[in-house]
Subunit: 326 residues, 2 copies
């Protein structure tokens, strides 16, 4: 399976490493980053200090789309960063691939949140495969579990702690005390929050993930702007004191049913399975037959995301080898 | 797919109902209970007061093994009760089926705990399929998730709250206070604990499930007698007071690594993802790549168990239709 890897940040590098270790049958024919494309990366060490653009075989200015057109690949692994404005360049990469007999595995939330239905239509029309387990709560295989392990079930509700940074901040406020400003600064110093923390603490990242969950599991057609969204900026130390007296806590929860779609801070019992510590994610699904199931694990991190990507690669490889439609 | 259902208690009845609703392509050709076999059950109502032995088509004294021999079925659904002494009659049913081109789905823990390796060998030798998701933590698809959603991973540790009755008793002791005797009586009155509670509170049921998890996920060859086992009879109100002062609680945990195999009450942080309420189950798995994942849900109940069984039936049906080896 000739594979092109677009995006070579933490996730791309970890993916390269895990693919090498776990799926030697996958031939990585090129790696594209924002500067160009390295053909035949062979045995490079993804975590060495040498950048891929320093190799003599590096084709400066060969873009992802050019690499897709010229290298005749069977599989695209798309790990460029999420762009919630127009989902580019990931959206163009994925659209081109799905229309040209190239299966796709992606960790990029933008294209899925921006045009879920369009991409699903494209894969159906061209009989290509698109997998996106890594886009939501990386180490938790939500989509694949519902599809493969609970096939007789209909999902009717999703509730989740979908953003690890917010969870860390709220968990710290609960357990150490202190106001939002102090805890946010601590999270930034630890590299858990970005210098511009808006995408996390204003609930944008959680809302993007909720859109993907909702379209995928509840078969709705929703967009980012449909999400009723409130971030965690206004949560006070006092709010945690009050919650604590009732054995409750506060977490940023994304929720969707057939009618509702919301990201907001919620007061939940401390015994709730959504009350997870540190930067963990948790997702509770409700079904007609299986009733209720909660999964929790780490939602971010290069290796966790690479895990989701390579499991998806395995599923595509396995269905192509078995000649089934996955 | 011509299907024989052996066992028609709560689980068998719920399975019959869910199969009808969700998989009309499965033809249930007979139902066997301890008294005989009803051929062509057709449109019977599994939850009506009329017992199947009252139907004129009921073949008194036709055993499960006879039904398997005479009715030419493709699939056996085995839901007879767990017998931890010699695993019968389930073990004979399953052995016969797997050796005679009949795939098997079972909720019966006995045969899996008693002869896991033998049954796996039998299915390999005869190219039949055996699925047993319902045997451990019914609504949580542990085995199928590891197999289908995390295929590139190696599991190296399992920790779980595997017995809902013990969890209910310990959760009540934690939250309402009271000693073991009082809470156990309450649980018996609610139908959560049996009149003879030994299988639950002495950790026998949890140990049986741990054996299945360990053989299946850690590729070890262990037996029930290998489990270092301690039940919850000696847990005192005082123990919960002490734990509570450190923000901890007590749960009956089954644990296995490549070296260890133990069921015992453990002090865990209240923030642990294994601290689940009521009769819930929870299982934490540790992997080389995916790191850590916890699943929680209800482990018992007719509908939850039927859910696991029918999802397994779907997987077998789907792999037979696609002509893959599952």
């Amino acid at each position: 399976m000739k594979t092109l890897l677009i995006g070579f940040g933490n996730v791309g590098k970890a993916t390269f490493k895990v693919l090498r270790e776990k799926m030697p049958q996958i031939e990585i024919v090129a790696i594209t980053n924002s500067k160009g494309t390295l053909i035949n990366p062979g045995e490079i060490d993804p975590f060495s200090d040498a950048k891929i653009e320093e190799f003599p075989e590096f084709q400066h200015n060969m873009t992802g789309e050019q690499a897709l057109k010229e290298l005749g690949v069977d599989l695209l692994i798309e790990t460029t960063p999420t762009n919630i404005k127009n989902a580019e360049p990931g959206l163009s990469h994925i659209r081109y691939a799905l229309s040209h007999k190239v299966d796709v595995v992606t960790s990029n939330k933008g294209p899925l949140a921006f045009d879920f239905q369009g991409l699903k239509d494209l894969q159906r029309k061209h009989n290509t495969l698109l997998r996106y387990e890594a886009t939501v709560a990386a180490s938790i295989p939500i989509f694949n579990m519902v599809e493969s392990c609970l096939p007789i079930n209909t999902v009717y509700e999703v509730h989740g702690v979908l953003n690890g940074t917010c969870n860390y901040i709220l968990w710290k406020m609960e357990n150490r005390g202190g106001d939002m400003g102090v805890i946010l600064k601590d999270a930034q110093e630890r590299g858990i929050a970005e210098t511009d923390p808006s995408a996390d603490i204003d609930g944008i990242d959680a809302a993007v993930k909720l859109v993907i969950l909702t379209n995928s599991l509840l078969n709705r057609h929703v967009r980012f702007t449909d999400v009723k969204r409130q971030g965690i900026r206004r949560i006070t130390e006092e709010a945690f004191h009050i919650a604590n007296q009732k054995n409750e806590t506060i977490r940023l929860i994304g929720s969707a049913t057939s009618e509702t779609l919301e990201v907001a801070p919620k007061v939940i019992p401390k015994t709730s399975t959504l009350n997870v510590p540190h930067t963990m994610n948790a997702v509770t699904l409700r079904f007609d037959i299986a009733k209720e199931l909660t999964l929790s694990g780490y939602g971010a991190g290069g290796m966790e995301t690479a895990n989701a990507i390579v499991n998806d690669v395995f599923r595509i490889w396995s269905s192509r080898v078995n000649n089934t439609d996955d």
